[in-house]
């Protein structure tokens, strides 16, 4: 699987948007890998000689499937308004309908791609062979 070491794969079966396959040993790892897949699409030019930054986020959703989308869209908001890219997440609270977390990242110079949003389109988190996995469609 391409990008396997990161726990995600960008697929080629959606003509207009970008569909990714994501998996993780735990739900937290699944969410982190989804964030890293989003970073891969955004393709930032990161500013290196600056200190890392942390941002607190809180999300409440109707279920786990919605939670991963709402999490990604909140991170996307932080990316676009703070001009920062986040590559670590410290989950302070993780329930199927609620997250409190701290995002760790760095400022960027620019992005090569814009993402409009992570979508709920046909999204279903499943457990298979010891992994949580799902497809996520990003509108770009």
């Amino acid at each position: 699987m391409e990008n396997n070491s990161c726990g995600f794969k960008i697929l080629e079966n959606h003509p207009a948007d970008v569909r990714v396959y994501v998996r993780g040993k735990t739900k937290q790892k699944l969410f982190l890998n989804a964030l890293l897949a989003m970073n891969k699409i955004l393709d930032p030019q990161i500013r290196t000689r600056v200190k890392s930054i942390s941002r607190k986020i809180k999300i409440k959703s109707i279920d786990l499937n919605a939670l991963i989308v709402d999490f990604l869209n909140e991170v996307l908001y932080q990316v676009q308004t703070n001009k920062e890219i986040y590559f670590q997440v410290q989950f302070k609270k993780f329930k199927d309908t609620e997250i409190n977390a701290e995002l760790i990242g760095r400022p960027f110079e620019s992005l090569k791609e814009d993402i409009k949003a992570a979508t709920y389109h046909n999204l279903e988190i499943k457990r298979k062979k010891g992994f949580f996995e799902t497809m996520i469609l990003f509108d770009v």
């Binding site: 697929l11 080629e12 003509p15 970008v18 919605a66 676009q80 001009k83 770009v140």
Partner: protein
Amino acid sequence: MFKPMQKENLQKINDYLWEFKKSGKMTVPARIYISSGMLNEVLKDRSTEQLINTSTLPGILGFAMAMPDIHEGYGFPIGGVAAMDLEQGVISPGGVGYDINCGMRLLKSELSEKEILPYLDQLATEIQKEVPSGLGKGRQIKLSIESLDKILKGGAKRLIEQGYGEKDDFENCESNGFIEEADPAVVSEHAKNRGRDQVGTLGSGNHFLEIQKVEQVFDQETARRLGLFPGQIVIMIHTGSRGLGHQIATDYIQLMMRKMGRYNILLPDRELACVPFRSSEGQNYFRAMSAGANYAWANRQMITYFVRKAWKKIFGENIFLKTVYDVAHNIAKIEKHQVNGKEKLLLVHRKGATRAFPAQPVLIPGSMGTASYVLVGTEQGKDSWYSTCHGAGRTMSRHAATRTLSGQEIINQLKAKGILVKCYSMRGIAEEAPQVYKNIDAVVEVVHQAGLSKKVARLTPLAVIKGE
């Protein structure tokens, strides 16, 4: 496992119109305006399944419809049109898309190709410098929330009043560049924050600016009315409401998913999330979407201002760029239509479809390096709630495009055709290569033959510009 829809499920109405009869949970039949040759390609993805899902929405009238540039989206297919009864029907952000009022603007000059060619590179470079993509860096100016609210309320008109355009600009704009029902109070702080530094930015993906020439005129009378002539230089702008619009869609899809249960709405795809138009949530989305649409008109107005600035640097103060028209292709609007012989107000969702009222100009962009079109709406367009296509429609994913095509090769191919490309991202060029789109001429031929809109002029690119 995805099972492609079969051609046998479709009934041919005429050479350019096919229908899925009402079955299962469909409340109306579904129709696709397409040629027989293009239909096979469409049946390969989920777009027809998405069209059928759209036909299950409460309060949909007539048919769930798709234009010939239909392709797979989420919720509605791209190229989808659905009109709803205002009292019984729903409003769905998935029927508008995340890029609220993504649309087109066309500017015309008085110069011909011959007169501009010696300055083409210089002009394209100046335009690229003036119009940023806004990808992360944003603009230098960050608007206050108060200033932004005025744009959300007043659209392009607000910027013109401040000196960023001329009266002609909003007069030649769909809805005069603003929707009155817009209410900044129902737009979230998140959305406003995303929009504060993006007025006048192009964005990425298929958004572009092109310097084009009028290659061919099909309808002399309409071309004359619009001030278009063969060999004329025009400038086309394709962009939308940027992060602000995307966030409005995100916020309201999330809200509607929570509230749908209250209205006993069950849907096959969460991206079809909707609520009754008359509900408080429905009204709030409509007002917020209208604010997003106004932001997009203001965005295209500010880009027009920057393009004029670049133009004046090269050609001076006395050669003008005037707006031919500005039209949305991702929007929901309240419009008067005939239903069973009676005039009725409807909510028309157009997602990747363009309004085409009789005599109204329609702007259809091609893919990078291919032709674009000016069309005009017709009386016959009533069959599709006066809607027509919006572009070529993708056939290959962005990732597959970057894997199989080289940005530099595309630049070389376009250069060989005399087309200049000003874009900083090789990946962006490969993703938008002409090979990954349907043939625009074939798409436009369908709407022309079906009578949804008629060809006025074919425009070909001289320079393609993506923002810095």
